[in-house]
Symmetry: C2
Subunit: 355 residues, 2 copies
């Protein structure tokens, strides 16, 4: 009932001795470069396999002096939502960690309400000579065009937060947005009885651009319709970022519809919480929304919001850089990764959701 670890790692020197070659040759085989005869290459490879050689990444990191440079192209945080601050936090953690490897990382922040800023920034990125770029693809067609240009210049690309299928060269790090909508619907089915009125609320300026919202809404409505419990589902846009404007719209709609549950499709759920906090005479519906923002958590803690669905944007940012690092520095490129976990936060577990 006891296990011991054989902690004697074989190094490149050991392999060299066993194969009767120099460490340089072993290195050449390992990084499969040229200047090795087929015979010795096979010999060395067999010994490597036999002894299960694992390279010491720390030594490698110390030795290699590459000057890779990555660009990060994400929305700047607005006064309305601190979401992108969280992503940026993960990015900066990555910068801290990977700058040790001689990687330099530049951050480009665009205005997600103004496509021209995205175009400007993407041109800036192209004008410099980056090896790879991390992109949050808010604007579909512009991003697609940008990635095309990157491919011509042999610049790798990776998406975070939301995906455009088959577009980026290195894939997507983030949640499966459709499932995110389904999960919200699943929780909805627990919160309200059959024949309830459910209001889907999209709050943001420039809504036509947020293509990823539609994926969530699809997942949500498909799930509820399949349940066949007679839910009355309404989908309403409030294309504003100003609370007072939103409140006026909200008042009108809520008076009209009298919903049993409101599903806010993005991180602006706190404004709905604030609304019902101020209009106490109105019957408060159940509320489901997204993202671990301070203002959202406040209303989760007070019981105003029932569930917050979260996706750890900081981890996404970090993982994107981490994947680039692994892609360039190690050969350890597992091409397709699984979508990230989708977390459920309630009043009872939000305290432990570290970020």
């Amino acid at each position: 009932m006891e296990e011991k670890t054989d902690n004697k790692k074989v190094g490149i020197k050991e392999i060299a001795k066993l194969a009767n070659v120099s460490i340089a040759t072993v290195d050449r085989v390992l990084n499969n470069r040229k200047d090795v005869s087929d015979k010795t290459r096979a010999k060395v490879q067999s010994i490597i396999k036999e002894h299960n050689y694992q390279p010491n990444l720390y030594a490698r990191a110390l030795s290699v002096k590459n000057n890779l440079s990555f660009a990060v192209l994400i929305p700047k945080t607005s006064s309305q939502t601190g979401y992108w601050d969280l992503c940026l936090k993960g990015i900066k953690q990555g910068i801290e960690e990977f700058s040790t490897f001689g990687i330099s990382i530049d951050i480009f922040l665009y205005d997600q309400e103004d496509v021209r800023t995205f175009i400007k920034m993407s041109e800036d990125v192209l004008s410099r000579n980056f090896n790879a770029v991390v992109i949050a693809p808010i604007f579909i067609s512009e991003t697609t065009h940008f990635v095309e240009e990157c491919k011509k210049r042999r610049i790798e690309s990776i998406f975070v937060n939301s995906d455009i299928k088959g577009c980026s060269s290195l894939g997507y790090i983030g949640p499966d947005l459709y499932s995110t909508g389904r999960l919200a619907a699943n929780l909805t089915s627990y919160l309200v009885p059959a024949n309830s009125k459910v209001l889907i609320l999209n709050i943001a300026r420039g809504l036509q651009n947020y293509a990823y919202l539609n994926t969530k809404i699809e997942g949500y409505t498909n799930y509820l319709n399949k349940l066949d419990r007679g839910f009355e589902i309404l989908n309403i846009d409030i294309p504003s970022n100003n609370y007072d404007e939103i409140a006026i719209d909200l008042l009108r709609h809520v008076d009209n519809i009298n919903p049993d549950l409101i599903f806010v499709t993005n991180s602006r759920v706190s404004v709905v919480g604030r609304f019902f906090d101020e209009y106490r005479n109105i019957k408060k519906p159940h509320i489901i929304g997204f993202d671990f923002l301070t203002e959202n958590v406040e209303f989760l803690a007070s019981g105003m919001i029932d569930f917050l669905i979260c996706q750890r944007p900081d981890k996404q940012g970090y993982l994107a850089l981490n994947h680039l690092y692994r892609h360039f520095l190690l050969k350890d490129v597992k091409e397709n990764f699984k979508p990230m976990p989708i977390d459920i936060l309630t009043i009872e577990n939000y305290l432990f959701y570290e970020n």
Copy 2:
């Protein structure tokens, strides 16, 4: 709207040059050893602060050749639950990573149904000369005594999975068990209406030893009672690990009580799922349980289980070793850490809960 990273890290050599001393002296200051005059020490320290020197951990890892040894003392996995396999998985990941630093790690597995095996294993640990030990404290008094002995021998200790407050020398890595119970109660309140019958089910042999179950149950009942919705709460023990035995007991109790919801206080929730899968004529209650085990997830996927509350045991195991590593190798000892996140899994998000 663009940020650049100043990726020129100052090294120990730079500092030495700036302070007009040798790198050996800088090293002495950094690891605050003796053989440095107060004057030069102050001077070097000021330059270190001024240039925000950060040691290169990879170089350190490469250079240092310490022979630390850790012990891991956790239950062996039984045929009834693969829970400890997950923890072990995280432990092994840690071993893989930290063996590079010359740390050797020995694993001791005891039988959580037989306290004598724990005593035997703990004596084995004491007979060797470990620097620290990771413990899953199932048996309260025996673990307390063991930690006392460790302290005498200056062996550090750290707990995983559950805690004995103020006992271990390096704290506890795991969820807040009381909140875990509260969360289950919170979800219960969404699943069933007022005046429902709720059955708390403790399934395991040697139940008197599982002190951590009481903490969960306290959190659960306190929450529900405070809600004041007229819930009828029953607490039942089934001290067995054999499905057929459990099924007989379960049949009797369910016939008797006819519960609207069953809360299984540990990872054995799959046997309840199996039970209601076999006895289709009995009205299936809502079911809440613990842990991301294959057999549990199976019933979550089929809709038999509503919620699974999870605590990432693999991450716990890894983090425990990671904390020991940081404690001994770096000075980076943030003494008290936050409890781990408590995850909620449903049929809609379990697919993305990577392990």
